[in-house]
Symmetry: C2
Subunit: 437 residues, 2 copies
Amino acid sequence: MNIILLSGGSGKRLWPLSNEIRSKQFIKIFKNEDGYESMVQRVFRQIRKVDRNAKITVATSKTQVSALHNQLGEHVGISVEPCRRDTFPAIALASAYLHDIQGVSEDEAVVVCPVDPYVEDDYFEALNRLGKLAESGEANLVLMGIQPTYPSEKYGYIIPADHGEVSRVNTFKEKPDEKTARDYIAKGALWNGGVFAYQLRYLLNKAHELIDFTDYEDLYAKYDTLEKISFDYAVAEKEASIQVMRFAGAWKDLGTWNTLTEAMEDTSIGDAVMNDSCENVHVINELDVPVLCMGLKNVVVSASSEGILVSDKEQSSYIKPYVDQIHQQVMFADKSWGSFQVIDIEEESMTVKVTLNPGHSMNYHSHERRDEVWTVISGEGRTIVDGMEQPVKAGDVITMEAGCRHTIIADTELKVIEVQLGREISVHDKQKYELEG
Amino acid sequence: MNIILLSGGSGKRLWPLSNEIRSKQFIKIFKNEDGYESMVQRVFRQIRKVDRNAKITVATSKTQVSALHNQLGEHVGISVEPCRRDTFPAIALASAYLHDIQGVSEDEAVVVCPVDPYVEDDYFEALNRLGKLAESGEANLVLMGIQPTYPSEKYGYIIPADHGEVSRVNTFKEKPDEKTARDYIAKGALWNGGVFAYQLRYLLNKAHELIDFTDYEDLYAKYDTLEKISFDYAVAEKEASIQVMRFAGAWKDLGTWNTLTEAMEDTSIGDAVMNDSCENVHVINELDVPVLCMGLKNVVVSASSEGILVSDKEQSSYIKPYVDQIHQQVMFADKSWGSFQVIDIEEESMTVKVTLNPGHSMNYHSHERRDEVWTVISGEGRTIVDGMEQPVKAGDVITMEAGCRHTIIADTELKVIEVQLGREISVHDKQKYELEG
């Protein structure tokens, strides 16, 4: 199975655990044998279980590449969108990537699916069948239609021609009001979860019809000139040869705190104490200090180094405009080499804890407008400062003036307290270099 | 007016803003023209307003001396209890301190009052009158009786002989149940708020009667051998010549989050956002990141580097056993020279932000089992390391191996990131020295 996972943007609805850099699919909230896994880790594990040879490609923006490598390892296929241009350009680019870079044949089927459905293994078995349907060539496009469980106003609906397991699509309907949704469902309508399959040839032809490009490299180069347009609007709604396959298994869209906490196995993650009078309370605490809850009902508490949310569960779905008001420094991020956490901010300094995974290193870089001091607090590795390499271990201190080129290489897991000093500390003040030799 | 303010112990009921080191009276929660002031700062300001020449002595334990100097300046009178021995020994020690150290005459009156009543200026005018009554010598002991506003089970009651403004005391009653309290009040009973006045001679004689000591120094030296006994039990309940003066003004005991939030001028202190559907919600946030509240009713949220409390207001008075469960590192403290805040804890390191006030310095000290690295992040001053003095400014780094003697002196406000490195990091690993020269 070839599968493209569409990995969406910043998830303000799950603030403070998601931020501009960490989208909701990277929050580690699902219990497994080893601890906790994120949505994207869960989905990868589920796909591999159903098809251990599945070729998985994540279509996403540059900002998520580090987090993807951090959570999925170095060998995951990533189709990087140079900028955001909605789903049709993203799918066209990922399809060109599969063909031109990964060498997938035009006859093969490709399944497209969002990266963050909360589902069981039967969902991925259905994706496998969806791919086989597309490969059979009966229709140009095969959609997955999700059996509605309530008359939701949140989803678009697919109206099938009949009640068969697989049937032709009569028409699509935009997000309706509840009453209309009820009517659709009575007529056998299905939710459009944005899941579909096609033969690679079909999509590449569509892409060439709508966009003037030669190959993957060319499409990538001109990506910022493309029109923003959704796949539904550009392709699905205009396609005559189109089928829908019913899926009646469990399917949840965990987009808000309300729905996310329903999927939590325990009532709390992290250091939390609740008294007996708490009812239907969930706590997700990423801080090193305890959260104590007393006498609360239907409340979610979520704490990270970005901030603290305390919300009635129903109300939590209205969070976005309030988070938009909160303009703030990104306080933590997963990087391909490890992670960082801001632990103190002053007017002319910022203190950061940097954790490097064994065998990883930062880019070789310099800053124009800040000095830095590293104090190694655990582990062993090497620093390179202006071309000079030296071994470092816990207790060692490295001072770097503005302009000096530097990196650190972790031989074991390595933790460093980095003090940044200057009047204009900014993530944009960074020049990268190739390491000589 | 001579006034002894009794400053009590650790306030777990207001966790996470109070901790083992910071008692509730030091939490800055009351709005004034310059920002926020603590209970102890508010009381000092109010006393000075009523009597600018008042001689104020705080009776307290060693652990509060730094915080008192930090909040009230260097010149506040402090009678330090070497250990906790309940109110009678504390009042005896403070009275001996007034006589032997401060030179107060035996004829003068002394007013004793807890450091943390939430009151208006009329309360301190009443204290002034209480002192004058004691000075007149009509009775040995003059109590303030607070006019009850409800049949509280929290307070002891004073039963006066009549309904006069000042009257003889018939008897004392222990904390009653609500019904009994109602009966007492019907008979004109008053709350015993632990406020009283006496001529210094009276209390010194009582002290010599009950304790074998010569003077302040001697009492201080044998303080740990004294029996724990309350002033009410040792003195007040046995005294025949005793009056009570009614006080009908505003008086509140802000001992729980529920009562404390009632005294807040605004619904939040610190970085907080609430949506419109919040009702009767208070937020006190000492962290640098925002708290967002949505759809909450009758809730208090309090966040500090010790932890986060989210509680129904009524329930918040039952907090103590839950806080007792939370064994943790002290994460912040006010010191006489400034303050510190723990910003990161790892297995073999701890990172602390240290702020020194201008003109202040740490003790000259060393640690046996940890190395330290200071990175100055703002201000100017001097370090002394193993006897060598050198000027320091933002960006300077000082490394100190275990055993090395060191201090830092702030010429301006000085902020330092201190990384402690070692396997057994403990506040008890500290040896102090006199600075030579």
